[in-house]
């Protein structure tokens, strides 16, 4: 496993993304941060904490699960359904979706469908820790921690203290993980 982002790198990238969110939206008045379980949620919490720090106002992060919105249920192993929790109604808000890795774009496609069922945001933006390429849909991230070109056989592992006991990003091949 190759170590490509340390805990400090991850913290710095999170802070930069928070600054970009504040700048891009002229403040936080209408911003709601929603993480995609599992590892988009701790990232959403980190981003929300950094936003609170910068603007001096409390920012709550929620989650939007995509288990009920996948388009490949017949071909992939079953995964558990995660929580969907909105800190406030999203109608008319700017939703910043967060996830750990942006890959094919199919997860984000499913999340956009889920958001459509939950309300009508004025805009949806996407923040990810790692963009590893190989998109299969016309989807891009607005805020990226690190662009990491990968081959399809590689595996990107973003780890968070809350879930994995450590912060950082590693890359391995399928065999070594």
């Amino acid at each position: 496993m190759r170590h490509v982002m340390t805990a400090e790198d991850l913290a710095r990238a999170t802070r930069r993304i928070a600054h970009e969110i504040v700048e891009g939206n002229h403040g936080l008045a209408d911003v709601v941060v929603l993480g995609i379980p599992t590892r988009g949620k701790p990232f959403a919490d980190r981003v929300a904490a950094a936003l609170s720090d910068i603007e001096g106002v409390p920012v709550a992060a929620g989650s939007v699960d995509i288990g009920m919105y996948r388009d490949d249920i017949d071909t992939r192993p079953k995964t558990r359904i995660g929580p969907t929790e909105l800190p406030e109604p999203i109608d008319g808000k700017v939703v910043v979706l967060t996830d750990d890795v942006l890959f094919t774009g199919r997860t984000i496609r499913a999340a956009l469908d889920a958001l459509t069922d939950l309300g009508r945001p004025s805009a949806v933006q996407l923040a990810v820790v790692v963009d590893r390429g190989h998109r299969q849909l016309p989807i891009r991230a607005d805020y990226v921690g690190k662009n990491i070109p990968t081959s399809l056989g590689e595996r990107v592992s973003v780890r968070f203290e809350e879930i994995d006991g450590e912060d950082g990003v590693w890359i391995g091949t399928e065999e070594t993980t």
Binding site: M68, Y69, I73, R76, K78, I81, A114
Partner: protein, 305 residues
């Protein structure tokens, strides 16, 4: 899990996973648009060889909330009345392109036979006096939402346990989730050999009343008028009914459940049925969420992967 036929074989981990998913589906049902595309393109058939409106409607609502198509079968309007066998009936419906069948039948074991004949998941929607597993799931979901857990709860199931598929399903699910279950009823309504089950037995509701967290009242089958199993409805109410007086003696946070339809004034007092600690309507709402969890578990994902 390939079918859901009985709660007897379900372990704590499987039950907990189903209840966790059911909690998320319960959230879906509160949305302005209570529908998700999870099972788009799948077809669920409700094959009710015994009359039922509540359970059938609940399954159909669950399937539709997951964007599955539904088909329904009623014996009165079918070729069964022309003499078609059970096997030919279900093979015919399967051949129309059905992905899952919910089966209710008055004969114990019928869903198992159908599961042998067909290559699709079967959900037992009630077979004779044997099993009704989705009822147990919705009951456990309702209790868990109220108390946070079933671990260590004292639960009494009161009434006609001998003829109750609800009781047979609840006993195993509640026990597996850590509750202490006591069966309460006259000897004529208790199972012949309750020692085979993970339960205590009492013939006197008043003996255990004040220790209970959950009182689960079974329906008295008034259409049988009591008959040979107890002397009269009035006597049943006197000894086993959840009257207002007994309700007052319960622990302040104890709750009352009932699978419906209720006989007000028989097994449950009029005032008790309307009290906020009677969770009967919450059970009905949770029935849809619990059945969504079951359909999703059996159809949502490649179970062999």
């Amino acid at each position: 899990m390939r079918h859901l036929l009985s709660t007897e074989a379900l372990d704590r981990e499987t039950l907990t996973a189903l209840l966790d998913d059911a909690d998320e589906f319960a959230e879906v049902l509160t949305r302005p648009q209570p529908k998700v595309p999870a099972l788009r393109g799948k077809t669920v058939a409700t094959m009710f060889f015994e009359p039922s409106t509540r359970t059938r409607m609940s399954f159909e609502k669950a399937a539709k909330a997951l964007s599955a198509d539904t088909m329904s079968f009623s014996p009165g309007t079918s070729s069964l009345s022309k003499g078609e066998s059970l096997k030919d009936t279900v093979l015919t419906v399967r051949a129309m392109g059905v992905d899952l069948m919910v089966v209710r039948h008055k004969a114990t074991g019928a869903p198992w036979r159908i599961a042998d004949w067909l290559d699709i998941p079967i959900v037992n929607g009630g077979d004779g006096a044997h099993q009704h597993p989705t009822q147990a799931l919705l009951d456990c979901l309702t209790i868990r939402q109220h108390f946070g857990t079933l671990d260590g709860l004292r639960i009494a199931i009161v009434g006609d346990i001998r003829h109750s598929r609800v009781a047979r399903s609840d006993i195993f699910a509640m026990s597996a989730l850590g509750a202490d279950v006591t069966l309460v009823g006259p000897p004529t309504l208790l199972p012949i050999d309750p020692d085979a089950w993970p339960v205590d037995v009492s013939h006197d509701l008043d003996d255990v009343l004040e220790e209970l967290d959950v009182v689960y009242l079974l329906r008295v089958q008034t259409e049988r008028g009591g008959g040979s199993v107890f002397p009269s409805l009035a006597e049943y109410t006197t000894r086993y009914g959840m009257t207002t007086e007994r309700f007052r003696r319960l622990k302040p946070d104890a709750v009352v459940l009932h699978p419906g339809p209720m006989n007000r004034g028989v097994e449950i007092g009029h005032d008790v049925a309307d009290d906020e600690r009677a969770l009967v309507l919450q059970q009905v709402t949770n029935g849809v969420a619990a059945r969504m969890a079951v359909l999703f578990a059996l159809l949502g994902g490649d179970t062999d992967a």
